[in-house]
Amino acid sequence: MEMTITASERSFSRRTFVKGAGALVVTMGAPRLLNPRAAWAAAGPDFPIGPATIDPTRIDSWIAIGADGTVTMKTGKVELGQGTVTATMQLVADELDVPMSKIRFVQADTWVTPDQGTTAGSQSTGTQNGPAGVRQAAAEARLALLTMASAKLGVPVGSLTVADGVVSGGGQKVSYAELVGGKTFGLAQTGKAVPKPYTAYKVVGTSVPREGIPEKVFGKFTYTQDVKLPGMLHARVVRPPTLDSKLVRVDGFPGGKQPKDLVQVVQKGNYVAVVAKTEWGAIIGAQQLEVTWQTAPLPDWAGFNDALLTLGPSTNQVIQDSKFSNGLDVDAVLAATPDSNKVSATYKYPIQMHGSMGTSASTADVRANTATVWSSTQGIYALRSMLATALGMPAQNIHCIYVEGSGCYGQNKADDVSLDAAVISQMVGAPVRVQYTRADEHAWENYGQAYTIPITAAFSKTGNTAKLTAWRRDAWTSSRGGRPGPPANMASGILMGFPETPQAQSTTLTPSQALNSVDGSNSAPHYVVPAARLTNHTVRLAFLSGPLRSPARIQNTFANETIVDELAVLAGVDPVQFRLDNLQEPRLIDVIELTAQMAKWPARPSGSKIGTGRYLTGMGFSAMRYEGNLGYNALAVQVTVDTKTGKVTVDHAWSAQDCGPAINPDGQRQQAEGCLMQGISRSLIEELRWGPNGIRSRDWVTYPVIRFDHMPTFAFRVIDRRDQAAVGAGEVLITNAPAAIGNAIFDATGKRLRQVPFTPARVRAALAAA
């Protein structure tokens, strides 16, 4: 299948641009700040430039009723393979009382959909961001339709009912299609429409089958990788050994013999790419092109987590300090606590990758003054802004269209490859498709960050109850680049020579958060602790970083939920009981209690019943509230440790989860299953490897991921809270995986692993240690 390109997108000419420019007062090279409706009205078929913005206050920006009664939902959120769009369609179906079969959708398109930010983390539900999202707009559309029907039927709005898109009242009927079908509403959102409560929804709360699955199963689905344009060329990027290496010269092809199908070698700063008529020609050309680089070496791999503390300069922040709230000095409290009541430990988390199954691809058609780019970015407007900088073109002249790609789990290379395609297309003056090689994807990502987290925490014990008294925690990480905007937030932008955003200056030592608050990074424990100081330190190193499923939160939760386990051991208290004794948040308590019940949790101090023989089993627990209030999850696992090889197997997993109302329960379950498998993978085997002269994790052998041979049994239950806000379920359970598994290894062996992943070598070393 090919994407269809409308005539207007293809027929741009200088003449029409000037004609339009006259009317719209365009300054070339500068962003045009236009009234969007005026711009849209002016953008006729011979002036193919879209509106500057899609006005989110208009009903028409979100909902369209077709002449046949179909409802088109326009969402700035995107389907990343997790069912978000289907769940959002369910909300629209219920708000408008139309069946799912009559709902269509358009997702993230800078000419069509409002800017709803990034589809990421727990902001992925279509109800969030933007300002009020699709749910509110659908409620506004319903109110507008009922008002129209009331006028037409002469029946007050309060006496009207809707079923299957037909409004009834006073013995009369009128359909949505008859009221506004094929026309626009032409109305602003009033802010007065009130969405139905979750308790009144009928489609929401059911497991509606996911959009797109039949097409995927029959090979008919169009991924970004499948977008093809007439006259399109293929390009592949030729990368240096490391990110900060410098191009010395492009030496050319062996013996000066150009590969078949080669069109051009393009160069921009340290960036080199090969363009060919065919895809295989581009691949061969990139393989054969000889380039001399001056290599900037990477830091030492083995000591990287320790070096985070010394490789500075760092950006330093105090995020919580009880001295500023209740006057308690955590250092004084810890100094006065005997060793029998405190634990001091350092937790280490590696650099990990998104590891999309499909390598990122993008197709771009950049003309003299306009550009069209097909991308699987998570943020279509942020991408447009980045491309405006890179192409030197007003943002409004760039049309970015989302097409679903391979699952990304955060910022994979979808943005970067769109930058490649657009810049190369501009350089060669033809439509260009770029798809990365496996090594491009593996070795040039904006990786999930490494963290090193030293914590000292203490408790006091009265009878069998231990209460946390102090918590001093410092987190060290490395951050460089990130999501678009600036092109230099990603590898190709840096190689092209765009300027990187300078590292933030050290901030003052005034805490930025209230004591015992749980921030968007899960920095703080979710327990009540009277004396605490939490700091964050960020250095900038040779690796790019970007959000990876539960960014910062999986690392922080690993540290927090492991030291809690260590404190419980020291206190001689069951780890689940220890958690409950120090918690106040009722929704978190509920998922903990339900999970413990599902797992038939054997209440006893962890590691108190270590077996004998080669294979040892143990159970571990972890719980957290995601980003403070965006989802609650508890996870219990049972593991088997092969004490001879050090191999850890997760045999059973139990989990209860609360993400507010379960819009699509089966969808939430599927996300939990995915979180469990990816969570085991990241806990046990995933770790970026490199040498001084480059990344060594370049394929699925050098960076393996979990396979069918490692699948625990899995019991999962959803707590459906229809009185709460809906939040995303894609990153919740995974956050608990490393701590739960590490705690289970301790329960089985009595040995504590404080560095992820728990590889056989690390397990053997822990078992051999005294």
Partner: protein, 158 residues
């Protein structure tokens, strides 16, 4: 550059390509068949799996010149919405896809194992898992995929 004839999904196609061009690019770019996908180019993940006869092969590393001897089948040719393969029916029933990029690997891989008799109605879950370990999924859809394969194996007379 050679002109080669390959049989794909029951139809013969004359294609122009160097004999060492991997089959994947011929299928995707010349024949516009997007069921097989590029995942690694190294025969490590299975995203490009097609059938050569009944045998699953990795189209990303198989030269087109090496497959002119037997008919090829892609996901598009395995079944259609009107005449679905039991695996396709079961994958929809179990919602056995998240991003779906590996769906081709899973269905074409399992279908070949079924054709060759390695997966039958009586095959244990543990054995299916062992056989499917050569195919990679990153979304963690393994539970659904496994359930779908078990169902399809039951639905097919062994």
């Amino acid at each position: 550059m050679s002109r080669l004839t390959i049989e794909v999904n029951g139809a013969k196609h004359s294609v122009e390509a160097t004999v060492d061009t991997p089959l994947l690019y011929v299928l995707r770019n010349e024949l516009r068949l997007h069921g097989p996908r590029f995942g690694c180019g190294l025969a490590q993940c299975g995203a490009c799996t097609v059938h050569h006869g009944d045998q699953a092969i990795r189209a990303c590393v198989t030269p087109v010149g090496a497959v002119t001897d037997k008919p090829l089948t892609t996901l598009e040719g395995l079944g259609t919405p009107d005449k679905p393969h039991p695996l396709q029916t079961a994958f929809i029933e179990h919602q056995a896809a998240q991003c779906g990029y590996c769906t081709n690997a899973m269905i074409m891989g399992a279908a070949s194992l079924m054709k060759l008799g390695a997966i039958k109605a009586a095959t244990s879950e543990a054995d299916i898992r062992k056989l499917m370990t050569q195919y990679l999924c990153r979304c963690g859809t393994h539970y659904r995929i496994l359930a779908a394969i078990k169902d399809a194996a039951q639905a097919t007379v062994a």
